[in-house]
Amino acid sequence: MIRDLAVGQYFPANSVLHRTDARVKILNLLITIIFIFYTMNYFSLFIALIYVFLMMYLSNIPMKLYMKNFKIILFFTIFTGLLNLFDDRGKVIFEFGFLKITDAGINNSIFVCSRVTSLVILASIFTFTTLPTDLTDAVEKLLKPFAFININISEIAMMMTIAIRFIPTLIEEVEKIINAQKSRGADFENKNLFVKIRALMSIVVPLLESSFKRAYDLATAMESRCYRGAENRTRMRILKFKMIDLFSIFLTLIFIFGVVYCNMKFPATVK
């Protein structure tokens, strides 16, 4: 049920992507997403898609998992795709009353759909191949240069760690509450909106209450172990820059070069 949501889940496997440094992966992810949205014609889009498929192949993650994540955003993708179909510019292809579908609209729609899908797939590759602890370590390291503007990076990292740590706990909690309310006849399948909202409230209120309780308990537990912020803490796993990371950066550079080159060389199909 809720457990099936694969968002933000780590999938243990042995692949080059699993071994790549998390810092490199974050930067790669950010940069590739920016450039995927910068694709202006079918040539650069094609390069972006090749990059995405290459990453999927390298990740060693079963296709089934990607499909699961894809299913979740399917509705969203179709919706944005449909909205983009209708464009005033370009040659009219179909016409239903006041709705016009133009060739520019079709191009738009194809680009938006493939960009959104690529974005979600790249993000899932990242979470599938990165341990949550590595992720927070990497964020902490990457934010280090910003320490001078008075933000406490180690605290942000600690908050992230806690948030990630409690996702499975909360999922378990939700399942328990759902079962308890089902036992009292709560009707989660009812079509009536009022009944549905009431059933939903019966989950949200106890969940909020127990989350607050957990937060207080955790704070007490941390304080009684003398937590004073995580500054100058040493780590068990130290992130190290390896050949593989260099290779990964190299791949991304090729990708950027390809997209920029195609954008300049060929006329833009979307604005």
């Binding site: 509450i177 309310q181 036992s183 009292r184 009707d187 019966s202 949200v204």
Partner: protein, 289 residues
């Protein structure tokens, strides 16, 4: 005819993944009307998984459950009706309370049954009396109550549905000894008044002995024993082997009898135990006399 009939029931967690875990295998039990059944077993023996099958929260991987002779999974759309027949009170039920007054929270179950307002009111009042709370509590917010009171409210919420069977998963966990004793007393009164069936899961052997007619012993997802309370606890060594225990007084009697004193081994209440020891002195039954 038995009220709940479980036939060849097996349940496997995460069946379609690469790490399936068998929680229950080949369970066959019958529970009759107006019985109190105790379920004991060490942590992870499958007790909670089993009771979640009683009201259709879990669907058996194989095998079936029949209530009044009807397969509850025959029509999966009607599974909600089963939940009104078999009320399940979870472990630490106080965390399921969500309404802004105690009254509304207890009324949640009956409301879901689409009862009339008068009937709902009657049931709320009846069940708050049943768990031994004052009526003044009905207008309060559940979040200002103590932990013990909250638990009683949560249990009243299930009782208000007037189920034929009420299943309680470790209802006394975390209660102080006096509340525990009161709870068991209240439950007995409730049973004699309602004439329904009660299934109670507990780690506390004293509670089990005190209240149940028959005891189901679970071990590694199987039924180890299912018999009358007296017969179960006479098998002290079997219970200890699978990580369970007998009541403290029974243990004392076992020890005395092993030392050669002539006392009965099937003593389960402190009162009977005291009587038994006094008898030793009265009729010179002791070894050293």
């Amino acid at each position: 005819m038995s009220l709940i009939e479980i036939r060849n029931l097996s349940y496997i967690y995460s069946k379609d993944t690469n790490c399936p875990k068998t929680a229950l295998s080949n369970i066959n039990i019958d529970i009759y009307d107006n019985e109190i059944i105790g379920i004991i077993g060490h942590t992870g023996s499958g007790k909670s998984t089993l009771v979640q099958h009683f009201n259709g929260l879990l669907k058996p991987t194989s095998g079936g459950i029949y209530i009044n002779g009807l397969d509850i999974w025959k029509n999966p759309k009607k599974i909600r009706d089963i939940r009104f027949k078999v009320g399940l009170v979870f472990q630490y039920p106080e965390y399921q309370i969500f309404e802004d007054t105690v009254y509304k929270d207890i009324a949640f179950g009956p409301c879901n049954m689409n009862l009339g307002p008068n009937e709902i009111q009657n049931r709320v009042i009846e069940s708050i009396r049943m768990v031994g709370l004052p009526f003044s509590i009905l207008d309060k917010s559940p979040f200002e109550l103590s932990g013990g009171e909250k638990r009683k409210v949560a249990i009243a919420g299930v009782m208000a549905m007037k189920p034929n069977v009420i299943v309680l998963d470790e209802p006394t966990a975390g209660l102080d000894p006096l509340s525990r004793k009161n709870f068991i007393e209240n439950l007995k009164t409730y049973h004699s008044r309602e004439k329904n069936t009660i299934v109670i899961v507990s780690h506390n052997m004293e509670d089990i002995v005190e209240i149940s007619d028959r005891v189901l012993v679970m071990n590694n997802g199987r039924v180890e024993m299912f018999d009358r309370t007296k017969d179960i606890f006479s098998n002290g060594d079997v219970l200890m082997r699978i990580g369970l225990d007998v009541p403290k007084i029974t243990k004392i009697m076992f020890k005395l009898s092993n030392e050669g004193y002539r006392v009965k081994r099937d003593v389960f209440s402190v009162k009977d135990g005291a009587e038994e020891i006094l008898n030793l002195f009265r009729c010179d039954g002791g070894l050293n006399d």
